[in-house]
C-alpha cells in the first residue's frame, strides 16, 4: 500500500486588494496508508486543495508532501505516474473528442507504438464495459459514462493511488451507484473528497476538513458524526 505523507503543510495564496495572503490550508500533518480514505467538509474548507497537493497540482507554501517517499514538488513527474487524479467535472478532464482517443492520449508517454496503445486503450475501456461507447463524442455520453470514461483514462496508466475530487457531485443517483460499485472494485489506494456521506461511511478512514485544518481524523462513522455536528452548529449559529 502507498503512503502519502504531509508534514506541517500550509498553502497560502495572494489575493488582489488584500494585504495578507488567503490561507487555504495550515498545519496539516498526516500520514495516509489505508486502502480507502475519505475527505469531507464544507465547500471552501480546503478539501480540493488538500487533494491537489497529493498529485503536485498545488505546491505547498510551507512543509512537504511525499508519496511513497517522493517529494511532490521535486519529483513531480514520478509522483504523477503513481498518483492518478479524477476531477469533479469529467468534461474538464477529457481533452479529446472521444473516449478512445482520450485513453490513448493518456498512454502516449508510456507506450510509443500506436497499435500497442490502441490495444491497451481498448482493454482499459473494456474493463468498465465502455468499449461500445469508445468512438462516441464525449458530449453524447451521460454524466456517469463520462465520469467512468475519465476514470478509465486515468487508470489506463496503472497508477498506484487514485485521488478523486468529488467525483459523484454531478451524478444522479443511478450513476452515483455505478461509480460507487466501480470504485469498490479497484485495487488502487483511493483518496476521495465527497459530499455523499453514505459514500464516506464506506471508507476505512475519513478526514474532516474545516477552515483549512483537519478538524477530525478517524474512522468513518465517527468522522461523519463529527461533520454533522459541525454543520448543525454552523446552521444554528445565526
Amino acid at each position: 500500500m502507498s503512503v502519502i505523507s504531509l508534514s506541517n503543510v500550509g498553502v497560502r495564496v495572494a489575493v488582489d486588494g488584500r494585504p495578507d495572503p488567503k490561507v487555504l490550508l495550515q498545519d496539516i500533518t498526516v500520514s495516509l496508508a489505508e486502502q480507502r480514505i475519505g475527505v469531507i467538509g464544507a465547500n471552501g474548507s480546503g478539501k480540493s486543495t488538500l487533494l491537489r497537493l497529493m498529485n503536485g497540482l498545488v505546491v505547498p507554501t510551507s512543509g512537504t508532501v511525499t508519496v511513497n517517499g517522493l517529494d511532490t514538488v521535486r519529483k513531480v513527474r514520478p509522483v504523477r505516474q503513481q498518483v492518478g487524479f479524477v476531477f469533479t467535472d469529467p468534461l474538464s478532464q477529457l481533452v479529446m473528442p472521444t473516449g478512445r482517443e482520450d485513453v490513448e492520449l493518456s498512454l502516449r508517454r508510456s507506450v510509443r507504438k500506436g497499435d500497442e496503445r490502441r490495444r491497451l486503450a481498448e482493454a482499459a475501456l473494456d474493463r468498465f464495459s465502455l468499449l461500445p461507447l469508445a468512438d462516441q463524442s464525449i458530449y453524447e455520453l451521460s454524466g456517469g459514462e463520462r465520469q467512468l470514461m475519465a476514470l478509465a483514462a486515468v487508470l489506463a496508466v496503472n497508477p498506484t493511488v487514485l485521488v478523486l475530487d468529488e467525483p459523484s457531485t454531478l451524478l444522479d443517483l443511478r450513476n452515483r451507484e455505478l461509480l460507487r460499485r466501480t470504485l469498490s472494485g479497484l485495487d488502487q489506494q483511493i483518496v476521495m473528497s465527497t459530499h455523499d456521506l453514505d459514500l464516506a461511511l464506506e471508507m476505512d478512514r475519513v478526514l474532516v476538513v474545516e477552515a483549512g485544518r483537519i478538524a477530525f481524523d478517524g474512522d468513518a462513522a465517527a468522522a461523519v458524526e463529527h461533520y454533522r455536528s459541525l454543520c448543525a452548529t454552523d446552521v444554528a449559529a445565526p
Binding site: 513527474r77 474538464s92 481533452v95 473528442p97 482517443e101 490513448e104 492520449l105 502516449r108 463524442s137
Partner: protein, 207 residues
C-alpha cells in the same frame, strides 16, 4: 454547452480509399489546398476543386451531415467576407476567395474525418522529430494540435451559450455582454485543460 459543434469533422471509422491512404498524402492534400488558395485565380477552378473534394468526402462514408457540420459554423463569416470582397473587388474575386476558404476547410475535414486522432498526432510528432536536435519536444507539438482541435469547438460552443443567455436578458446588442463572458470562460477552460493535462503528466518535458 454546445462544444460538440465541431468545426472540423470528427473521425469516422471506415475502410474507404481515403481512410487507407498514407497520412503524408493527406497532409499534402491539406497543404496543397492551402497553397492553391493563393495560386488559383479563377473562381470556376475553385468551384471544381471544391466539388471534387466534397465528392471524395462523401465517398468516404462520412456523410453529408458531417460535411455540412464542418462548413456551417463558417457560414456567417464567409457571408461577411464574400459581401465585403464583392463590394471591394467584384463578384468573381469574392466567389474565388470564399470558395478557396471552403476548399481548405473541406480538405482539412477530409483529413480529420478519415484519420484517427492518435494517428494524426503520431504524424505531427514524426514531422516535428527533426526539431528535437534544437531542444524541441515533438510530443508537445502533437499535444498542441490536439488541444487546438478540442478548443475551437469548445469556444464556439461557449459563444453560442453566452449569446443565448445575453438574449434571455435582452442584452444581445451589448458587445461587452458577449465578449467578456466568452473571454473569461475561455481563460477558465485553458486553465482547466492545463490542469487536466498536468494531472496526467502530459505536456511535461521529456527526461
Amino acid at each position: 454547452m454546445r462544444g460538440h459543434g465541431f468545426l472540423l469533422a470528427n473521425y469516422v471509422p471506415g475502410t474507404s480509399l481515403v481512410h487507407r491512404a498514407p497520412l503524408w498524402l493527406k497532409f499534402l492534400l491539406v497543404l496543397g489546398s492551402g497553397l492553391a488558395s493563393f495560386l488559383v485565380v479563377d473562381w470556376l477552378v475553385s468551384a471544381m476543386v471544391l466539388a471534387v473534394l466534397c465528392g471524395v468526402f462523401l465517398l468516404t462514408g462520412a456523410g453529408p451531415l458531417r460535411l455540412l457540420g464542418a462548413v456551417r459554423p463558417l457560414a456567417l463569416v464567409l457571408l461577411v467576407i464574400g459581401l465585403f470582397q464583392w463590394w471591394q473587388l467584384g463578384a468573381p474575386t469574392a466567389a474565388r476567395i470564399v470558395l478557396n476558404i471552403l476548399v481548405c476547410v473541406v480538405a482539412a475535414s477530409l483529413l480529420t474525418a478519415t484519420t484517427p486522432m492518435q494517428r494524426l498526432l503520431d504524424g505531427v510528432a514524426s514531422l516535428a522529430a527533426p526539431l528535437r536536435r534544437f531542444g524541441a519536444d515533438p510530443e508537445r507539438f502533437a499535444l498542441t494540435i490536439a488541444i487546438m482541435l478540442r478548443s475551437i469547438p469548445y469556444i464556439a460552443g461557449t459563444f453560442a451559450d453566452v449569446r443565448d443567455s445575453a438574449r434571455a436578458r435582452g442584452l444581445e446588442r451589448h458587445p461587452r455582454a458577449l465578449v467578456l463572458p466568452v473571454f473569461i470562460t475561455t481563460v477558465a477552460f485553458a486553465r482547466q485543460t492545463g490542469e487536466a493535462l498536468a494531472a496526467r503528466g502530459l505536456g511535461e518535458a521529456e527526461d
